[in-house]
Amino acid sequence: MDTCIQKIREIAFQLLDKKEVEKVIGFSNGTIPMATSPITIASKQDTEKLVFNSTCGLNLANYIRQQKGKIAVIAKGCDSRNIVTHIIENQVKRDQVYIIGVPCNGMINKSKIKSLFEDEIQKFEEDGDSLIIESSSKKEKLKKNDYLRENCRLCQHRNPVIYDVLAGDLVKEQIIDVPYPDVEKIAALEADARWIHFQDLTKNCIRCYACRNACPLCYCPTCFVDESGPQWVGKGQDKTDINTFHFLRAFHCAGRCTDCGACAEACPMDINVRDFTRKLNKDTFDMFGWEAGLDLTKRPPLDAYSPDDPNDFIK
């Protein structure tokens, strides 16, 4: 990863030095250990602030809309697929973004690591495939691959699908025989048990909308949850309103979601909201052979009509 950081900083420095771009969007160290946050850099002196490691789980494609002038952005496999989706949906022009592609080895599941410690984590270091984590009471050395986020374990597009320059060597893509084990597990339950699964999943939701805000797909000027005339969904903690929010948020991502995991990463209550979107990802794959963000020339299936579309749901 270290060589990759050096490369990212060099590329960013050159781009800003030659005034090829006005800003570089990347990751910087967060205010606590084992965290990074998005940063926008406009001066070449600041490129030292850029970092890249296994905690960069947010999706930077979320920050490239409505920018004036040319910008550069760091993109993992999934981010690059959301950039493709943005280009298809006219949120940004291809020639307006300079994509610094980062072949990815997966991001870590921070909650899983935190659960190993009773006290606060004070230090996080990465050394190749191992993670060294310290709190005031103990120090753990973990294998990164045992602590990957679920979406990263199942990811089949780790290399950026679109880029102007690469900050590292391409990685070997994983071939996953059963790409949707989680969805199948829920589908195998009886209707009432499925209902209970989703009730339990969302019972701690505080409607903070961090999941929506972290998602590059959610760029409506006024989200349906914020509309007041008409008010589509109640604004409080009523469980039916919570369910309606989650159901509709997921449906608005149908055929567009890249399973980047930023939504689940952002949730302060550790709710795996991907349980909703993954079902739709599986359906669009089964019905249309579609995975989002792989091809600049194809419209997402819910956005295009084809005489071969499956239509047995309608009478």
Partner: protein, 53 residues
């Protein structure tokens, strides 16, 4: 949409989609009959219902 609702545990027979022209009176009657029969068989819906009390 039907698939996700079903995945969330809403019974499939509660969700119906149809396209009926204003000239297709008999189709309309048939579809409504089929829907009411299927929904009656399931009984009252208790999921995704807002309780205002």
């Amino acid at each position: 949409m039907g698939n996700l609702l079903e995945h969330m545990g809403i019974e499939r027979d509660r969700i119906h989609f149809s396209w009926i022209s204003s000239a297709e009176a008999t189709k309309f009657v048939d579809v409504v009959k089929e829907i009411s029969n299927k929904v009656r068989a399931l009984g009252p819906n208790k999921k995704l219902v807002k309780d205002y009390n």
